[in-house]
Symmetry: C2
DNA sequence: CATATAGGTCGGTTTGCCAGACCTTTTGGG
DNA sequence: CCCAAAAGGTCTGGCAAACCGACCTATATG
């Protein structure tokens, strides 16, 4: 039989997330990605529960988890509320998620990034490109502070997804960035690397402005490959299996 | 505030799928996509439940649903089992899913397809390209029978995801193809269109063989645009909203 | 100091899912 | 010919997640 790989996926374990899990993930990622900035106030519980279409109790489970993990702070009383913590928890990374399949996200990333890039080249507005360019300039001033740089970088990449004008790609991109962060936090980022990386950003924008999708995608690929090569030295095994000659 | 679109996604309703739903979707899609061919026998319930890591009762809910919808047939007795129905249910399409956001899948599709294409250009093996070429030849003989053509087409696109050697992309691609089918079934497919489409397939493979990712992606974009243009006449509104000048 | 606005707590109900025992149908093999 | 094996079909009890809604507590502002 031939269509084997595809069939295997069909029978892979079904593991739907619970409402609680998904909520933690959504809010947690948004915070780690800087979509919710330190000090930002979340909507009141009852309201947020409505927006997320979950019960308040479930929402509170998630909030509690995020408070305990240091992502959120909640204050009681009249002008109280739930706030994004000022000092982000230093997620001690390493040791976890360094699995074999850490590589899997890289593949997905390539797809989302280059796909979004191709679309952005066609649909992006001047304003959006301007904004991307601002971000590039901002990054240029953050070469010494990786924390900051990375946040701006995330906004840059999400910005590309926005320029693609597609909700699905936007969620895809936030997904990707969230998962990438786990990996990216692991590696050193000397200013030279960031400089180079940001140059690629600049070239990318140029191609986008010209509407040259193919070139833009090539830039993006080059860009993502950079990370991959750096990671290559860190992740446990570069084994990329071949089918067992079925 | 600027990062608005991204924030909205954060607070979108959380709606985790149930195990039941996801199972129906997985099996149903696999059947509609032809990954499970008519007459194929599924593993016995108890075993399948183990593989999917769900309880037999939940699995049976899903199977029952699929039997009622005509996708599956189950036979009792010793050499019984659950089989893929010989005649696929003629999902009377129209009327449903023609929503505004039918367009959303098209965007995601572009990302997955062009992303997978880019990767396949780098990682695909000769054997895989050979196989893709076989499929193209097969399609060339199916220009008069759209049902058949479409199945082969699906296998072609999934084949590209396989050539990209990435599990995530594979699931992404099956997702995309499943959702696309809803739309594609709606439109007429005269042989001329299929011919043209298949020529694009052929060019795509050529580019893949040369390892020319950029060119391959361009081919793929051209290919997907074809569908989009045809659909453009059918879907309710081509409105692609711009942000309300926040 | 009253009251509005928040977070915090509790109890009861519903629903999804699971585990496992048991029944029924059919057929291949002794 | 009959029975054991291999399937699908049925039922029960139990647990945990999620929901709903009412109520408690803190506190800052007017």
């Amino acid at each position: 039989m031939e269509r084997d790989a595809a069939l295997e996926t069909v029978f892979e374990p079904v593991r739907p997330a619970s409402a609680f899990e998904e909520t933690v993930e959504r809010l947690g990622s948004a915070i780690r990605l800087g979509l919710l900035a330190p000090g930002d106030k979340l909507p009141p519980e009852r309201e947020l529960a409505k927006r997320l279409k979950i019960s308040r109790s479930t929402l509170r489970q998630a909030l509690t988890a995020l408070v305990q993990s240091g992502h959120l702070v909640s204050l009681r009383g009249r002008s109280g509320g739930t706030f994004v913590a000022e000092r982000r928890p230093q997620a001690e990374p390493v040791a976890e998620a360094l699995d074999q399949d850490a590589w899997a996200i890289l593949d997905y990333r390539v797809a989302i990034e280059s796909g979004a890039t191709a679309l952005a080249a066609e649909r992006g507005t001047e304003e959006q490109f301007d904004r991307l360019e601002e971000l590039v300039e901002k990054m240029a001033g953050e070469l010494e502070d990786f924390e900051e740089y990375r946040f701006t970088d995330i906004r840059f990449h999400i910005g590309i997804a926005e320029a693609a004008h597609s909700p699905r790609l936007l969620t895809g991109m936030t997904d990707v960035q969230a998962q990438m962060s786990n990996l990216i936090d692991l590696i050193a980022h000397p200013p030279e690397v960031l400089t180079r990386s940001n140059e690629q950003h600049a070239r990318l924008i140029k191609a986008l402005r010209k509407g040259d999708g193919a070139r833009a995608v090539r830039c993006m690929r080059e860009h993502t490959e950079g990370t991959e090569h750096v990671l290559a030295g860190l992740l446990p095994a570069p084994v990329r299996l071949e089918p067992p000659t079925g």
